[in-house]
């Protein structure tokens, strides 16, 4: 004879406090597919909901700032590549401009135009990667594959210009490594033309996708006050309504000549940040087309910076004075005056700042790298509490950080 079985009324028991529950301590990372690098989240869970979240950084701390005190200014350029390794050209440019501000050196218009073009291409590349990673975190493999195909086209252009697919080390203090090759700007133009329809296709996979929206709308809301209090910058801050964009507010490298809009969100949830990045890519294409249309001729390096920028190789091999100059530059480094400078650039991840203290000579005395990802992540302990573990994955994907830059 079957006895009747009734399930215990667990909800009532839990509410009455009769169940003994305990919190679970879970460490997400440092090796985890969704943590975008080596980030470790020490979480305390009550069931599936977080009660505490403590990010542990430093798993990629390589000692960049100490290395900078031992390298000449040009020797440090490859290390800047590997800060935000998704947009190396943007980091190169920010560093070069910071050191040039220290030397009060103005680079000619062509150099500025090339730097702006490469920075915008790096922005597209970084946002594509952020989009792809965000997609793959929420389960959309196709978005990742499509984004990488477009990135490969960008890599091809970077390789033609600088010699490397990424980690380009392209800028030098006072100029660039070399001029643009013949027809390169036309190829960038062709890339832009074919990119916009493909971008629309990629965004169409996610923007009105019910699953994606369920996972990102109203998740991880950052208020405008919080964004300012925690020092958030870039698309993360703009998604919450903070309208800072250094390309418009304090233009550098010729950005004042280009017309573009800055997308700003309203709610500050993951979905807003995703939309901001998508729109920023379209604005980057707009800047690229204008920059290529206005592309100036002339020198691509500061021709009057004798103790800072190396002379052209043909002269070095044939003339004594240039040979000595080159020798001094390579061994002692570009000679900078004493003083300190702080320059910030609008990088794809946020605002990247370089604070350089110089006592004169070719080696900096102290270099501090203000990393956008470090500041963006500082809001995690507050943001993740009260969310599900799977929401944490969406939040990490929407913040789009890079540990190379966060840990330096």
């Amino acid at each position: 004879m079957a006895t009747e079985f009734s399930f215990p009324d667990t909800a009532a028991k839990n509410a009455a406090g009769e169940f003994e529950t305990e919190k679970m301590s879970l460490s997400m990372g440092p090796s985890h597919p969704s943590t975008h690098g080596v980030l470790r989240l020490q979480m305390e869970l009550d069931g599936e909901i977080l009660t505490k979240c403590d990010p542990i950084l430093g798993y990629l701390h390589r000692g960049d700032e100490k290395i900078a005190e031992n390298m000449t200014y040009n020797q440090f350029v490859p290390y800047t590549d590997r800060l935000d390794y998704l947009a190396p050209l943007a980091n190169n440019m920010a560093y070069a401009i910071a050191v040039e501000r220290l030397a009060k050196l103005e680079v000619p218009a062509r150099c500025q135009a090339i730097r702006a073009i490469t920075a915008e291409m790096a922005r597209i590349s970084s946002h594509l990667m952020g989009l792809g990673a965000f997609g793959i975190d929420t389960g959309a493999w196709t978005v990742f594959m499509y984004c990488f195909t477009e990135r490969e086209k960008l890599y091809k252009l970077f390789e033609e210009l600088t010699g490397a697919r990424f980690t380009t080390s392209y800028t030098r203090i006072g100029g660039l490594q070399r001029d643009v090759p013949e027809g390169w700007t036309a190829r960038v133009n062709a890339f832009c033309d074919q990119f916009l329809p493909i971008l629309d296709e990629i965004l169409a996979l996610l923007t009105r996708n019910k699953i994606f929206m369920d996972r990102t709308v109203d998740v991880g809301i950052i208020s405008k006050a919080d964004a300012i209090a925690y020092g958030l910058t870039g698309p993360n801050a703009r998604g919450s309504g903070v309208t800072i964009d250094l390309r418009k507010d304090k233009p550098y490298s010729g950005y004042e000549q280009y017309e573009f809009d800055v997308p700003v969100g309203t709610k500050g949830d993951c979905y807003d940040r995703y939309l901001v990045r998508g729109e920023e890519m379209k604005q980057s294409v707009r800047i690229l087309k204008q920059a290529i249309a206005k592309f100036p001729g002339g020198p691509w390096y500061a021709t009057d910076a004798k103790r800072i920028f190396g002379p052209p190789k043909e002269k070095v091999m044939s003339s004594m004075e240039e040979l000595i100059q080159n020798f001094m530059l390579v061994t002692e480094g570009p000679q900078m005056p004493a003083g300190e400078v702080y320059f910030e650039a609008e990088n794809p991840k946020g605002i990247l700042g370089f604070y350089i203290v110089s006592k004169g000579g070719g080696v900096p005395y102290r270099m501090k790298i203000r990393s956008p990802s470090f500041c963006n992540l500082s809001i995690l302990p507050k943001l993740c509490v009260g969310n599900l573990v799977s929401d944490v994955v969406s939040i990490l994907g929407s913040l789009d950080f890079v540990m190379g830059e966060c840990d330096r």
Partner: protein, 169 residues
């Protein structure tokens, strides 16, 4: 092994549905063509690893597209990026959790020897903490270089006396 022209070699009508070969050859062939990597993607090389996995360079044609982050299910750990002293114990733990047979590819200059980061925080080569089978140079190595490393690993695995180890384990 079976060639495409069955007339010259193996003929089903003569030999039936049975192939005869050395145990080593079969075991190594199986291991080679489904070498599932455990991507220890730490820094910039991880991006090139992802590029190798995507459409243009397609690591799937080597049978290695299953990049699960679970060490229990993987054969080959690809250490892609700088290993710091803080991260080194975790890399070793994950290596220990992998089931035998396992191999390690040190991808990039930082994993092979510390790279350009000669500093207080960087492990000077991941071979100080796990045994490495193939080193790939480059900063970061091109996807073709990583695929070449995979092929070299396959050549190495082909030469292993697998059946002896299986029986003696």
């Amino acid at each position: 092994m079976v060639s495409s022209n069955t007339e010259l070699g193996y003929n089903t009508k003569v030999e039936g549905e049975v192939m005869v070969s050395r145990a080593d050859a079969v075991i190594n062939w199986i291991r080679n063509n489904s070498m599932w990597p455990m991507p220890m993607g730490l820094a910039c090389c991880a991006i090139e690893l992802m590029a190798t996995a995507s459409s243009r360079f397609d690591i799937a044609r080597f049978g290695a597209e299953v990049m699960r982050f679970s060490p229990r299910q993987s054969d080959c750990m690809i250490v892609a990026g700088t290993v710091t002293y803080k991260m080194a114990p975790h890399v070793r733990r994950i290596y220990d959790q992998m089931a035998a047979p396992k191999w390690v590819i040190a991808m990039g200059a930082c994993a092979s020897s510390g790279g350009m980061y000669r500093s207080y925080a960087t492990l000077q080569g991941v071979d100080r903490i796990v045994p490495v089978d193939v080193y790939v140079s480059g900063c970061p190595p091109r996807p073709e270089a990583l695929l070449d490393a995979l092929m070299k690993l396959q050549a190495k695995v082909k030469r292993e006396p697998s059946s002896k180890r299986l029986l003696s384990a």
